[in-house]
Amino acid sequence: MSQESEWEPKILGFLCRWCSYAGADLAGTSRKKYPANIRIIKIPCSGRIDPLLIIRALRTGFDGVLVSGCHPGDCHYQTGNYRARRRIAITKNFLEYMGMEPQRLQASWVSASEGGKFAEVVSEITRDLKEISPNRLFTDERDGTKATE
């Protein structure tokens, strides 16, 4: 068996407190199966997402980052997800230009009632990430230092 197929990607999920976090909860209580590759951080709103949080997650060694919030029009604070959308779009396009693989930054709209969708999203992202190699963006082969954990 090759090393690649044994490899399990680590994903950091930033989930909005009102929709996606509750959606993830529902996935659990409804006993939906999804890969255990995701680690979740609860944020007050997807509008809380800062490009630095994303970049920092990649620097720390996560293979992918997911930002998930309420569907457009459903934000608890009216406009947070719209603002997040612009910020993530800019960040994603820019990081891809720098040389990041497009699969590493993902976004989704998952409502509190969409436990099934949350499970699907995580499965899809995990599958996509397995197609590319582990995150070595910030690993330095020259002096042997690894990304800090």
């Binding site: 490009p51 630095l52 970049i55 920092r56 620097r59 457009p72 029009g73 406009t79 719209y82 603002r83 959308r85 612009r86 910020r87 993530i88 779009a89 800019i90 960040t91 994603k92 396009n93 820019f94 990081l95 891809e96 230009y97 720098m98 040389g99 990041m100 693989e101 993902q106 976004a107 989704s108 709209w109 999203v121 899809e124 963006l137 910030f138 330095d140 990304a147």
Partner: protein, 319 residues
Amino acid sequence: MSETEQKLRNEAMTLLEQGRADYIIGYEAGSLKFTTTPLITRDKDDIDRLVINPFILNNLSVFLGDISGKAGIVAKGCDSRSIVSLIQDQQLAREDIVIIGVPCSGVIDLNKVEKLTGKDRDELDDIAWAGDKAVVTIEGAKKEFPAKDVLMDDCLSCDMPAPQEYDILLDEVGPLVCDKELSRSQIKELEEMSPEQRWEFWKNEFSRCIRCYACRQVCPACFCKRCFVEETEPQWISPLPKWQDNLIFQMTRMIHVAGRCTDCGECQRSCPVNIPLRSLSKKMEEIADELFQYKAGTDKDAPPLMAAYESEEAEDFIR
């Protein structure tokens, strides 16, 4: 002295005399030939030092944040966009500044002239614009060069040489010379590379970075009183200039100034280790335009890029 220069001095003097401005921010001749340096003054005797020539390089709007009181500021097209952008971000009140607009024919890159003529700057007598040609005088003999051979790279991509916002306009708009392909040639090269090659490229470039923060200091869009790199709780990046942290600093800075950067090119010019920063900032400008049809500093009443939204836009990457 050119007519424009005389007009500028007259206007600046009037502003100070009438009390419409407490300060004048402009350019004076630099200590080396064919250079200029910023002049910030409240003294009427200094007005005679103000100059306008093809070497007025600096984006003076960076000084506006540090000045209290009303300022009269000399602004080229790109500088005026930076000022508008500061107004959009509520860093400035429009009524606190008097913008003296200079329609810009572009800034001449002395390095390019030196290369073309094969002469050192001290051997050149004069460099001036004549329509869309730059005329270089060497020992009495005049030589003409097409503008696009001598312009600064960022000027080559300029499509707004006239000030967007002004109170006084010194002259008519000159001929516009631009060559967008030439100006973004490095971006094109990078886009044709694979992601791995691109990352390797930037990794190499930023291994040279000494984190002097000159790019941040000259940038009018970088107006935060406290930058994330200096925060200690949490400490976002290490203060040591390791390439990883250098990269994170610059990537984040570029994302932060998205929608404010007007491609004035000051960051790249200030870089002591010649990192091609414009290939980042220019690309960011293109991304903002492509995704949100947003051009920085063109409308002082519009909300800033990151503070606005449309109900339907940029959805294609969201699951």
